[in-house]
Structure formats: structure tokens, C-alpha cells
């Protein structure tokens, strides 16, 4: 037997799952407006306009949920005096977070959307690591390699520890590899995960960034 609460939860889950279904992503400007709306920076009539568009744009609705959760997390983690009360929307819906699983989770399984993120998607080039994930690299040959972009590409690499201490950044590389000097790894314990990410400036002006790759220091 289902209750009205169950039915209501199903409606919410179904509505939120739409963001994983095919449909246009929202623009950078729209995402910014969502953040402004959620953080109370927009006047009421403009907030209402954003909400109205969410009804027909699942990607916008998803951006709203992300904004709301990030806003709550920011407020929870902030010192008490940090946020003006007027902007502190009550986090009464925390318990509903479980419903959000469908929003992204369903999409993980099977749905597709056209990519709109020019930062990530420039043509068919995808930055792939040529170092096996989670491989342990010797300290005297700590070489990060990745699939080269088209001729003329420039690479920027950022290497951090898991707690986001920056070990090094290198920009304007012309070769798809980076060797970390042994001394940069002096504060990294044996077996510690090292994270790295590449941003590729393609000859045509587009930029493609990689996922975060993981290796370990011997």
C-alpha cells in the first residue's frame, strides 16, 4: 500500500530525475543566475523567473539543487557570524536529500545529453592519462604522461596531494608529460595518493581539462 507521502516522494524523484534525461544544458550565465537566486542576490521577481524556467529546464533545476546544497554546506561550515540572517534560508529540506539520488544517479546509468561545456568538450579530444590509474611511481622517475592533443597544443598541469596541498603547477608545456623532481615529493609519504589534472589549450583556442588522475608515490 502506498501513502500520499510515498506518492509525493515519487513525484519529486521523477521530476528531479529529468535532469539526467536528454536536454540542453544551461549556459554559464544561467548557472550564475541560479547561484545569485539561491544566495538571495536577485530581487524576488527575478528569482521567480528563474524558478519558472526550472519547470521546463531540468538542467537549470539541477543547477538549483546543487546551488542549494552547496549554499547549505557553506553555511554549516561557516563561523556563526559569517552569514547575514536574511540570506540564511532554512535548511529544512536536508532530509529530502536522499531523493536527489535520481537526479544524477539515473544519469550515471544511461541517459545522454549533448555536451555544452566548452571547457571540457572541444571536438573529440579527451585528455587521457597514459599512466595507469593508481600506479605507484618511483620518486626518481615520477613522470606524468597523457594523450597528446593536436599539434600546437599547450598544457597546464596541476599536481596536489589528497588534502589539496599543491606540489607543483606547470604551464605552457609543449610536451604531454611532466616530471616531478624528487625534492617536490619529499613531504609525500610512501604510498600516498597524488592527484593531477591537465588543462589543454588547443590550437584553435578551445580549452579542454582532464578528469583528476591519481597516482601514488613509491
Amino acid at each position: 500500500m502506498t501513502t500520499s507521502r510515498d506518492a509525493d516522494d515519487r513525484l519529486k524523484a521523477a521530476f528531479q530525475s529529468l535532469s539526467a534525461v536528454a536536454g540542453a544544458d544551461c549556459s554559464r550565465e544561467e548557472i550564475e543566475r541560479v547561484w545569485q537566486a539561491v544566495s538571495g542576490e536577485l530581487p524576488a521577481d527575478e528569482r521567480r523567473n528563474v524558478v519558472d524556467r526550472m519547470a521546463s529546464q531540468p538542467a537549470l533545476a539541477e543547477a538549483w539543487r546543487v546551488a542549494h546544497e552547496l549554499r547549505l554546506a557553506q553555511q554549516e561550515g561557516a563561523p556563526r557570524e559569517a552569514e547575514p540572517a536574511a540570506r540564511s534560508w532554512t535548511p529544512a529540506w536536508i532530509g529530502l536529500a536522499a531523493l536527489l539520488v535520481l537526479t544524477v544517479g539515473v544519469g550515471l546509468v544511461q541517459f545522454s545529453r549533448p555536451p555544452a561545456d566548452t571547457f571540457r568538450d572541444a571536438g573529440s579530444y579527451v585528455v587521457e592519462s597514459l599512466v595507469p590509474s593508481d600506479a605507484t611511481l618511483p620518486r626518481d622517475a615520477f613522470v606524468l604522461r597523457w594523450k597528446p592533443g593536436p599539434e600546437g597544443s599547450r598544457y597546464e598541469v596541476r599536481v596536489t596531494t589528497e588534502d589539496l596541498r599543491v606540489l607543483t603547477t606547470a604551464a605552457d608545456l609543449t610536451s604531454p608529460e611532466l616530471t616531478l623532481p624528487r625534492e617536490l615529493l619529499s613531504g609525500v609519504g610512501p604510498g600516498t595518493r597524488v592527484l593531477w589534472q591537465v588543462v589543454v589549450a588547443l590550437p584553435g583556442g578551445d580549452t579542454v581539462s582532464s578528469q583528476t588522475f591519481v597516482v601514488r608515490a613509491q
Partner: protein, 177 residues
């Protein structure tokens, strides 16, 4: 790294991401959530480093601006991870996800209801649509009334009547909500 970049509290930002992602993606395995968080933080770091290279960078990175950037980065990373599963670029992740999520029939049913909801919302009176949309997004009545800047009683009535409209509309489509 510039002085501004170094002054940003990435540890707190990471913790905030962890909390937000845990709520947004409770069905993901912890390593998937970790990947998402790391990628988002590194993306923010990249954007910050670019911005602070510019002359106006120092003033640009007030906390409010940082979180605007962080929001955008998190939205992008969620999309990117979703697309990676779709395009089969991460087979291991697909395998992991396959262990976690519900059966295809249930997913398809949920999608059908979702599309019905979208259509019914488009036919609804605007004020009711706004109230119901926020309800479907998980907002309580007090939350929704603050967002919409309407009295709580009016918002509650709009949610109530809007949901009745929605159920009736779905039933007319043969969808049992």
C-alpha cells in the same frame, strides 16, 4: 600560485563540497564522490589561478565570488561524470554504478512520470507552477515562501492546489502518480 590563491581556504571549500555531494549523490560509492569533489576543487583552483593572474584578480575573489565559481565547477563536474558513464569512457565506473542503481524498468517509469510532470507544469497557472516546482525541488513551504517572496499561507495554498492540478493532469495522461 599567487598570494590570493594561497589565501583561499581550499580545505573548507573541499569540506563544503563533501557535504554537498554527499546529499546530492547519496547513491554514489564513496570513491566516486571523492573523485567528483577532487575534480571540482581542482577546477576551482584552476579558475582561481587564471583569475588572479588578471589585474582585477585580487578584488575578484571575495568569498561570495569564490562560491559562485565553486557552484559552477560542481555543476560542470557532475555533468562531466554523468557523461563519462554515458559515453563509456569509464568502464570501471559503469561497473560500479551498475551495482548501485535501480532496475531499468523503474528508471523508465520514473522518466515517464517526470516527462508527464513537465508537461502538466507547462499547462498550470504560473503562480501554482512556481510553488509546485519548488515543492518538487524539495523545498518546504517556509523555504518556498522566502524564495518566492509570498506569504507562507499563500504559498501553502498554491502548493496544495497546484499538486491537485498536477495529479489530475497526470491521471488524464494515464499516469498514476
Amino acid at each position: 600560485m599567487s598570494t590570493v590563491s594561497e589565501s583561499i581556504d581550499y580545505t573548507k571549500l573541499r569540506q563544503d563540497f563533501v557535504r554537498a555531494v554527499a546529499r546530492l549523490c547519496p547513491g554514489w560509492l564513496s570513491n566516486q564522490r571523492d573523485d567528483l569533489v577532487q575534480a571540482a576543487v581542482m577546477r576551482v583552483m584552476h579558475i582561481v589561478s587564471k583569475q588572479t593572474d588578471s589585474p582585477e584578480g585580487e578584488s575578484a575573489f571575495a568569498s561570495s565570488y569564490l562560491y559562485k565559481v565553486a557552484h559552477s565547477a560542481l555543476v560542470d563536474e557532475i555533468r562531466r561524470m554523468t557523461r563519462r558513464q554515458e559515453t563509456g569512457l569509464d568502464d570501471a565506473a559503469v561497473d560500479r554504478v551498475a551495482l548501485n542503481f535501480q532496475d531499468p524498468e523503474r528508471v523508465a517509469a520514473s522518466r515517464q512520470i517526470g516527462q508527464g510532470i513537465q508537461d502538466c507544469l507547462s499547462r498550470m497557472h504560473r503562480d501554482r507552477r512556481l510553488a509546485v516546482t519548488l515543492h518538487l525541488q524539495g523545498h518546504s513551504v517556509p523555504d518556498a515562501s522566502r524564495v518566492l517572496d509570498w506569504p507562507a499561507k499563500r504559498t501553502e495554498n498554491l502548493v496544495y492546489r497546484g499538486l491537485a492540478d498536477l495529479r489530475e493532469c497526470l491521471m488524464s495522461k494515464g499516469i498514476q502518480p
